[in-house]
Symmetry: C2
Amino acid sequence: MENELSKALAESFSMKGGEGPSSYAQNSSIQREKIEAAKMFLQDAIAKKLDPNALSANQICIADLGCSTGTNAFIAVQYIIEAVESQYHSQGLAVPEFQVFFNDLVLNDFNTLFRNLPPERTYFAAGIPGSFYGRLFPNKTLHVVHSSSTLGWISEIPREITNRNSVAYNKGRIHVGDAPKEVVDAYATQYQLDMETFLNARAQELVAGGLMLLQIPCEADAMLDSEISRTKFFELLGSCLADMAKEGIFGEEDLDSFNLPLYFPPLKNLEEILEGNGDFSVEGKEIYPEISLIAPNNVKMGASHCRATLEVLIEKHFGDGIVDDLFQRYVRKVMEFAEVMKVQKFKSLVLFVLLNRKP
Amino acid sequence: MENELSKALAESFSMKGGEGPSSYAQNSSIQREKIEAAKMFLQDAIAKKLDPNALSANQICIADLGCSTGTNAFIAVQYIIEAVESQYHSQGLAVPEFQVFFNDLVLNDFNTLFRNLPPERTYFAAGIPGSFYGRLFPNKTLHVVHSSSTLGWISEIPREITNRNSVAYNKGRIHVGDAPKEVVDAYATQYQLDMETFLNARAQELVAGGLMLLQIPCEADAMLDSEISRTKFFELLGSCLADMAKEGIFGEEDLDSFNLPLYFPPLKNLEEILEGNGDFSVEGKEIYPEISLIAPNNVKMGASHCRATLEVLIEKHFGDGIVDDLFQRYVRKVMEFAEVMKVQKFKSLVLFVLLNRKP
């Protein structure tokens, strides 16, 4: 049943494909900044923890999970390969061949991904369709797993938040901002379940000594919901949808049944989940501030980014033709809000973490 | 340079994608009949030649080369997996996990392939974009390679046949039918080069004892060009294009510069190429008659099939908007021809061959 629901989301959802002005490919510069910030982290992690002699591998298999159409995945993979090559060179060993698996949901635009593969790449490339909240690879076949900006997506909307009879019914909102504690708890429970599923699947797929390099969005522990930029961001989007419902552009019930499949845990909870998994040891972590999407100078970039990420999901629920109107309202609302609120205090985090598959 | 040209073809070509009435997915029943005919051959080959103890593999990696959108590839892969499972069961061994790689050119419609993957499959699926006339996988990673109906495609058009100053200039034709010997020789040379490249690449990718199961279109040795159904089929298509050029629908030079990247060798030559490769031993072969696409009862199916296969290529060269007209002319011409010629004598062949990677 869990798999069925997970599949239901997997089959209804993707980033905006192609390469047009509203595509994800043209609107992922925010993720890219994180990848650049992660370069040193990736290189350090591999230099310290990847031991060619212990792996004794004929080929190195790398998986990028949540690759979308590749713009940023190609860069991260290149950093990883260069770092692995350095390890082999530094020990005077011949460098093995590289196999890179690019994974995303079945509805991802793999055609664009494949057409954009770097022509000068030094690896064999493959596309892997499917949800990473499930097995994607045979037992003990991966050496390095990388995932950036993807582990905020949960596998399904918790049932109780769309159930009118539940105390966690999330009426009139699309996410946790300004929501009762029960809504936040329902999201947090789903997140923990998904993250454990994720770790258990990867524990089977990674060889002993294999590395997992993750960049996971999260929030500082002491902050109020109303101080968190991501939460505020989606709250403002939700209020635009509420305005549109009030104007009769769609029904109130359409709004009530729509919730974003995203959750960003408090840092402390995230660390507990990672450290509580018996198959991995946490070998390194760093915390970075997320770029605020509602700082005044980032409003338009933030809106474009948000649109590329959510357009497919929103159109599927509300129907075609509302997205232009929605994001015009959204930019106006964020700019008014940003001017008043001096939003520099609104900060979100990204945890960079290195996990090592125990023998 | 060879790679560049091969790439040029790889980037300009695919079967008709999607699932509409003119798509390859809806027009590949002819290939499917071959796969059904091959079922016994595949099962026999694996029963006789795949030795689980010799492989001692943690997972079995299978590659289908030239998968298109999967309609037939999924069936063939299922037969192979069932046969491999039987081998493990019969020796009382635990069945390993299966990884299946679906390969086709970069412009193939992998999105449709992935959406059509059998939901109940018992294997991990991957898409591999690229020409099989080159390396696609790391060294010694594949256990079974399968390819059906794809090894008639050559990697590039031989240069001399589009060179006005060459004796092999193929003016006014699109293939070898009714062409001078020099044209046929140019195609045959390209074919031999491509097939050797194919075998050398697979020799590196297969483990020792790994199997290659190929269905290769070819022709009976003693036949005249004019008696071969495939050749006649493309000659008739070429004569429709020549009619259209005469009517000024496009220029004569457009026709002269268009040639089909297809070749079907005499059986004897094909066997020489396969037996001449030092890395593989030929462990079994069977010869099947190809279904004639110009038999009167197959005309419309043949035209639909031909259109699904060639539409992208033809539109790319001649421009949009000629394909409907062309295939209407084609059906009329084939029906007139078929009525007169009692085409039952026109037969083409398919060689089913089992190759074993030598230790």
